[in-house]
C-alpha cells in the first residue's frame, strides 16, 4: 500500500474529516450557547459573590491604607527595640492626615482589635499632636503616653501591615495570633465557636442516624406493598416534603411547648405531673425532634427508589438456600440497599449541617447551630467579614461531603419526588 491513501471528499470537495470536525464544533457551540444564559447569570449573581465572600473574609486593607508611610518606614525595623525616628516621623505624617479626614477613630478601633489600650492613647495623641513642634517626633510622641514608648504597641501596629489576614478564620476556630506570632487557642471559657462546630456536627450526625433508623423500615414497606396501598402511604411521605418548612416548624412548636399537645398527653396518661411538665422546646431536644421529622422524607425517597429495584425473588432465593429471614436480609437485601443508604445519609447530613430556620425557632440557646451564628454576625454585630469566613468554613465542609457523595452516588442520581 502506498502511504498516500486517498482522502474521502464531501460533495463540496472538502475532506470529510475536516467537514465532520467543523460540524462537531458547531454542535458543541450550539449546546454551549443554550447553557450560556443560565451559566452566565449564575456566575455573575452567585459564583462571584461567593468569591467576594472569600475576599471579604481575608481583607485587612483598612489599616494598611491608613498608615502607608509608616509601613514603608517599618520595613527595615526588626521589631526588637523601639523603632527609629524615621518611623515615628512617618507615623506622625500619616496620623495628621487621618485627623484631617476625621478617620483616626476608625484607626483606634481597628488597632484596639489587635491590642487593647490603643483607644485612649490615640485620643490623647490627637489632642497633643496639635501642639507638636517640627522634628524629633520620637521624643514628642513617646512623651504623650508611656504606652507609646512600649515596643509591644509598635509591634501591634506592625502586625496589621499585611493587606490580607487569616485572623477571621482563626477566630472562627477560637484561636488567635499572639504577640510573638504564634497561633494559640483562646482561654477555655471563651471557646464558643468550637462548641458550636462540634454541636453542629453532633446534631447533623444524630439527626441523620435517627432519620436512617426511621426511614429504613418504612421505605422497605413502601417498596414491598402492592401499588395501591403504597401510593396512599407515599402521600404521608410526600405531603410533609411539599409543605412549607415554617408550617412544619410551627406545628412542632405547638406540639412541644409546655402547655402543648405532647405535654398534655404525658400529663393525661400520668407520665409526668402537671406541675413538672418537661421543657421540650428551646433546647436540643426540640432541634432533634423537629429536624428529624423535617428531613425524614429526604432519607425515605432515595432509600425507596433503590429498594424498589430489588427483586423480591432474591430474598426468596436466600431463604430457600437455607438462610433464616435474618441471615437472608443481612446477607442479601441489606448490601443491595447500600447505595440508597449512602445517598440518603449524605443528603440528610448536608442539609442538616447548614440548617438555620428550625434551630433558630425551636433550638433556644443550647440547640442553635453554626448557621445561626453566621446570621447573628450578618445582622446583629455586622461583622460581615467574620460571617463570610465562617460561611466559607462551613461551605468547605459541605463541598467535601458533596464530593464524597458525588464519588459514591453521582450527581445525576439525585431524585426529586
Amino acid at each position: 500500500m502506498s502511504s498516500e491513501t486517498k482522502q474521502i471528499l464531501t460533495t463540496d470537495g472538502i475532506p470529510l474529516e475536516v467537514s465532520l470536525k467543523k460540524a462537531e464544533r458547531r454542535n458543541k457551540i450550539k449546546a454551549f450557547l443554550l447553557v450560556a444564559p443560565l451559566l452566565l447569570f449564575l456566575i455573575i449573581t452567585y459564583v462571584f459573590p461567593i468569591g467576594e465572600m472569600l475576599m471579604r473574609s481575608v481583607d485587612d486593607k483598612m489599616v494598611t491604607e491608613m498608615l502607608p508611610k509608616t509601613y514603608k518606614a517599618m520595613e527595615k525595623w526588626d521589631g526588637k527595640e523601639l523603632p527609629e525616628e524615621e518611623v515615628f516621623a512617618a507615623f506622625h505624617e500619616d496620623f495628621i492626615k487621618l485627623v484631617e479626614e476625621k478617620r483616626e477613630g476608625k484607626l483606634s478601633t481597628q488597632l484596639n482589635y489587635t491590642k487593647n489600650g490603643f483607644k485612649s492613647i490615640i485620643k490623647k495623641l490627637r489632642r497633643k499632636s496639635k501642639n507638636f513642634e517640627e522634628g524629633n517626633y520620637k521624643e514628642q510622641i513617646m512623651a504623650v503616653h508611656k504606652r507609646w514608648a512600649n515596643v509591644e504597641y509598635w509591634n501591634a501596629i506592625k502586625r496589621r501591615a499585611p493587606a490580607i489576614t487569616g485572623q477571621k478564620y482563626l477566630k472562627g476556630m477560637d484561636m488567635y495570633k499572639n504577640e510573638t506570632g504564634k497561633i494559640v487557642s483562646v482561654s477555655e471559657d471563651r471557646r464558643i465557636h468550637r462548641i458550636l462546630w462540634l454541636r453542629t456536627l453532633e446534631i447533623a450526625f444524630f439527626v441523620t442516624l435517627f432519620c436512617f433508623l426511621m426511614a429504613y423500615p418504612i421505605a422497605h414497606l413502601l417498596a414491598t406493598l402492592p401499588m395501591k396501598y403504597s401510593n396512599l402511604l407515599m402521600i404521608c411521605v410526600l405531603l410533609p416534603f411539599w409543605t412549607s418548612l415554617l408550617v412544619r416548624t410551627a406545628s412542632w412548636m405547638i406540639l412541644l411547648q409546655q402547655q402543648g399537645v405532647v405535654n398534655d398527653f404525658f400529663v393525661g396518661i400520668g407520665l409526668v405531673a402537671d406541675d413538672a411538665r418537661p421543657e421540650m422546646m428551646y433546647n436540643k431536644t426540640g432541634t432533634y425532634v423537629a429536624m428529624t421529622q423535617i428531613l425524614l422524607p429526604f432519607m425515605v425517597l432515595p432509600l425507596y427508589s433503590v429498594m424498589k429495584t430489588i427483586s423480591p425473588s432474591l430474598m426468596r432465593a436466600g431463604k430457600s438456600l437455607g438462610g433464616t429471614p435474618i441471615v437472608a436480609f443481612w446477607k442479601v437485601y441489606f448490601p443491595l440497599t447500600i447505595p440508597g443508604i449512602g445517598a440518603g445519609c449524605l443528603l440528610c447530613f448536608i442539609l442538616a449541617i447548614g440548617y438555620y430556620i428550625t434551630p433558630a425557632l425551636v433550638g433556644g440557646a443550647s440547640g442553635t447551630l453554626i448557621s445561626n451564628q453566621i446570621a447573628f454576625h450578618m445582622k446583629s454585630t455586622l461583622d460581615w467579614s467574620f460571617a463570610s469566613a465562617m460561611g466559607l468554613m462551613l461551605l468547605t465542609g459541605v463541598l467535601a461531603i458533596y464530593w464524597v457523595y458525588n464519588k459514591l452516588v453521582g450527581i445525576d442520581n439525585i431524585k426529586l419526588g
Binding site: 454542535n27 458543541k28 450550539k30 449546546a31 454551549f32 450557547l33 443554550l34 447553557v35 450560556a36 444564559p37 451559566l39 447569570f41 449564575l42 456566575i43 455573575i44 452567585y46 462571584f48 459573590p49 461567593i50 467576594e52 465572600m53 471579604r56 418504612i218 414497606l221 401499588m227 410526600l238 405531603l239 410533609p240 411539599w242 409543605t243 412549607s244 418548612l245 415554617l246 408550617v247 410551627a250 406545628s251 405547638i254 411547648q257 402547655q259 399537645v261 398534655d264 421529622q293 425524614l296 422524607p297 449541617i353 438555620y356 430556620i357 425557632l361 448557621s371 453566621i374 450578618m378 460581615w384 460561611g391 466559607l392 461551605l395 459541605v398 450527581i411 445525576d412 426529586l416 419526588g417
Partner: protein, 284 residues
C-alpha cells in the same frame, strides 16, 4: 400484607412489630400537620385543645382566626400574600425559561465540560442556604437591588433553577432524539421543532420543575430575610416574625391554608410524574 397460615409464632410477632414500627413512623411524619388543622378553628386564644374542643362542643370552634387573617390589621397577611405570589410567579417563569434552555444544552451529547457546568448549575441547591443568603445579599446590595421585588425575584431564580435543570434533564434522558431528526428531515426549523415536538414531550418535566421552583420561592425565608425591606414582606417572613415573637392562632389559620395549597401542588406533581412516566414508556 397477610402472612401465610404456616408462619411460625415468632415470625408472626416480629412481623406485627415491624408493622407497628412503620405505623409509628408514618404517624410521626404526618400527625404534626394535622394538629394545626383543628387548632386553627379554636375559639379561644390558646394553642392547645380546650375542654370544649375535646368534647366537640360547637361553641369551642370558630372562624375567628381566619377572619383575623383576612381583615386583621396587626399582621399584613394580605400584602404578604400578594408579594409572595408575585415573587413566586415571576421567579418560576424565570427559572423555567433559563433552566429548560440550559437543560436542553446539557442533555446534548456534544456539550463540552458537562460535569463542571452541571456542578455550577446545581450548586445553589447544595450550598447551605445561609451561605447563599450572604453571597446573594452582597451582590444585591452592590447592584442596588436589596429591598426590591426585582432583587428577591432574581435571588429566587438562582435558588429555583437547579430544580428545573434536574427535572428537565431527567425527562430528556429518556427522550428519543430521532423524532426531532425526523421533524428536521421533513423541513421543520429548530424553533418549530422545539415548540411542536420537543416541548410537548418534555412538558411534564418542565411543569414539575416549575412547581419545585414555585414552592422553593413561595417557602423561602433565609435569603428573603437578608434581602427584604418592610415593603417586600412575604408570607414566610410574616410567619417567621410571628413564630419568633408570639405564637398566635392566626398563624395556624395561615398554616392551614398553606397545607391545603401544598396538598394541591402535591397532587398536581404526582399526576404529572405518572403522566411523564407513561409518555416515556416507563411502566412499573
Amino acid at each position: 400484607m397477610a402472612l401465610p397460615k404456616h408462619t411460625e409464632l415468632h415470625y408472626r410477632i416480629w412481623h406485627y412489630f415491624y408493622l407497628f414500627i412503620c405505623g409509628s413512623v408514618f404517624f410521626f411524619l404526618i400527625a404534626p400537620l394535622f394538629v394545626i388543622f383543628p387548632l386553627s378553628f379554636n375559639a379561644e386564644e390558646f394553642l392547645s385543645f380546650s375542654d370544649g374542643m375535646k368534647s366537640l362542643d360547637p361553641d369551642a370552634f370558630s372562624l375567628r382566626w381566619y377572619k383575623d387573617m383576612v381583615y386583621g390589621t396587626k399582621n399584613p397577611w394580605g400584602l404578604a400574600a400578594k408579594n409572595s405570589f408575585i415573587i413566586a410567579i415571576f421567579a418560576t417563569i424565570g427559572s423555567v425559561l433559563l433552566g429548560t434552555v440550559a437543560a436542553l444544552g446539557l442533555s446534548s451529547r456534544h456539550m463540552p465540560y458537562k460535569g463542571i457546568v452541571m456542578a455550577v448549575l446545581i450548586s445553589p441547591m447544595i450550598v447551605p442556604l445561609i451561605i447563599s443568603g450572604v453571597a446573594i445579599f452582597f451582590f444585591m446590595a452592590k447592584a442596588g437591588l436589596a429591598a426590591t421585588h426585582t432583587g428577591i425575584v432574581l435571588a429566587h431564580i438562582i435558588l429555583g433553577t437547579p430544580f428545573v435543570v434536574i427535572t428537565v434533564t431527567a425527562t430528556l434522558s429518556g427522550f428519543d432524539h430521532s423524532v426531532t431528526r425526523a421533524a428536521a428531515s421533513l423541513g421543520s426549523n429548530p424553533v418549530n421543532t422545539f415548540m411542536k415536538i420537543t416541548l410537548p414531550l418534555i412538558l411534564p418535566g418542565v411543569i414539575s420543575g416549575g412547581l419545585f421552583a414555585f414552592v422553593t420561592s413561595f417557602d423561602e425565608v433565609v435569603v428573603v430575610l437578608f434581602l427584604a425591606g418592610l415593603e417586600n414582606t412575604t408570607i414566610p417572613i410574616q410567619m417567621w416574625t410571628g413564630l419568633r415573637e408570639q405564637l398566635s392562632p392566626t398563624i395556624l389559620a395561615v398554616a392551614t391554608c398553606l397545607i391545603i395549597l401544598s396538598t394541591l401542588i402535591l397532587v398536581t406533581a404526582e399526576l404529572l410524574r405518572r403522566r411523564s412516566e407513561r409518555l416515556r414508556g416507563i411502566n412499573r
